[in-house]
Amino acid sequence: MQSDSAAMRSDTPSSSMSVATAGVGPARTGLMRITSLVIVRDVKLAVRHLDQVLQPLVFFAIVVTLFPLAISPVIDELRKISAGVVWVAAMLASLIALESLFRADVEDGTMEQWVLSGQPLSLLLFSKTITHWLLAGLPLVIAAPIIGTGLGIPVSVWPVLMGTLAIGTGSLSILGAIGAALTVSLRRGSALLALLVLPLEIPVLIFGARVVDLAMHGEPVTGPLNLLAAMLLLFLSLGPLAMAAAMRISVES
C-alpha cells in the first residue's frame, strides 16, 4: 500500500508511470486493483481542490434558482415544472464537470502513459468516469431533494427523485465521458462538448424527469424506472469501449 500512496502523491507523469508499472507484476495485476488505484488517486486529488468539486453543485443550485425568477414565484406553478427543472439543471451541472475530466491527465502526459501501459484503457477511463460520478453526480443526488423542496417537490417523492438521479447521472457521466474523450485534445472544446453530448442525453432526461413527475402524481413508476436502468446497463457495457477508442484517437499524434 505504501508504493500506491507514493504513486498517488501527485499527478505528475513519473508518478503515474509507477502506477502503470506497478501493475506489471503478475501477482499484482488485478483489474479491481487498477480501478481502485485510479479512483482513490482521483478522489484524493479532488479533495485537495475541494472548490472544484463544489462548483458543479453551486452551478446546479444557481440554475434552479433562475427558474422561479424567470417564471413565477408561485409554488403551485413551480411544482408543475419542478421535476423537469431539477433534471435539466442536473444535466447541465454534470456537463460542467465533464470538461476537466480527462484534461489534466492528457496535458501532463499521464494519459499517454496509460495508453502505453498495456492495461485496459477502457477500464482506466471507466474508473475515472466512476470518480466523475462520485464527485459530480453523487453530490447532485444528495442535494437534489433540498433544492427540489424549493420548487415544491414533496418529501414523499424524495426517494424517487434521488433514485432516478442516481441512475440517470450514471448514464450522463458515461455518455459525457465519451464526449470528453473525443474533445479533450481540442482547445475550445466546451461548447462543442455540449453540442455533442446533450442530444445523446435526451432519452435519459425524458425518462428521468417523467419518473419524478409520475411519482408526484402518485402514479406507478416501475416501467420508466426500469427503462432508465436498462439504459444505464447499455451505456455501462458499451460506453467504456467507446471512451477508449475516442481517447486513443485524441492522444495519438
Binding site: L182, L186, P199, F207
Partner: protein, 262 residues
Amino acid sequence: MTSNTESEVTAAPRSGSRWLWFHKLSSPPYAFRTAGNLRPWFFWPSLILMAFALYGGLILAPPDYQQKDAFRIIYVHVPSAILSLQVYVVMAVAAAVGLIWRMKLAHALAAAVAPLGAWFTFLCLATGSIYGKPMWGTWWEWEPRLTSELIMLFLYLGFMALRNSFDDLQRADRAAAVLAIVGVVNVPIVKFSVQWWNSLHQGPTFSKLDAPSMTASMAWPWGLMMLAFVLYFAAVTCDRLRSEILRRERNASWLAESLRSR
C-alpha cells in the same frame, strides 16, 4: 477498366475476386473516376423522375378530401424525412468501415454525406412546419416525429462540428467516426423515448403523415419522388465525394498526372 487502372490499385486484394470491386474502391484515383462516371447516371434520371413526380403530384393527383391541396407537400416532406434517417445510417456505416479497416475513402464518404443528411433533415423540418400550419394551426408542434427530426439535426451538426474542430484530417475522421457510431446506437433509443414522452403528454398523436389510404393517383408520384430523391442523393454524393478526394489528394502524383494528360 483498362489495365492502366489496375496498376493504380494500391491495396492488393487477397480475399478473392468477389471483393475486388470493394478493394478497388479504396483506391482514390479509381473511386474518383468511378464517381465521375456514375454521376450522370444518377443525376439525369433523378431530374426526369422528379419532373414526372412533380407533375403527377401537383397536377394529376386529386386534392385530399380533408386536407385539400395542402397534403401535396408530403411529396417533398416524406422523402426527405426518410432520407434524413437513411443518410445517417450510410454515414455511420461508412465511418465504421473507415475506423475498422482504416479505409480513408470511407471517411471521405462519411464527410461527404453528412451535410447532405443535415440538409434533408432541415428540409423535412421546414416542410413539416409549413405542413403543420394549415393542418394543426401552428408552425411548430412538439410532435414525436418533428422532435426526433430536430434531434437528428443536432446529431448531424455535432458530427460536422467535431469534424471541423480538428486540424489534423485523420484525427477528425476517426473522432467523428466514433461519434457517428455512438450516435447510431443511440438513435433508436432517442426515437423510442421521444415517442414514449409524447404518448404521455398529448392525447392522440397525429397520424396524418402516415397517409393511411392513398389512392393510386396519389401514391405513384410519391414513389417516383422517393426514387428521384435517392438518385439525387447518389448524384450529389458522387460530386461531393469527388471534391472530398480532390481536397485530400491534392498533393498526390496521380492527380497531377491526370490533369497533365488532359
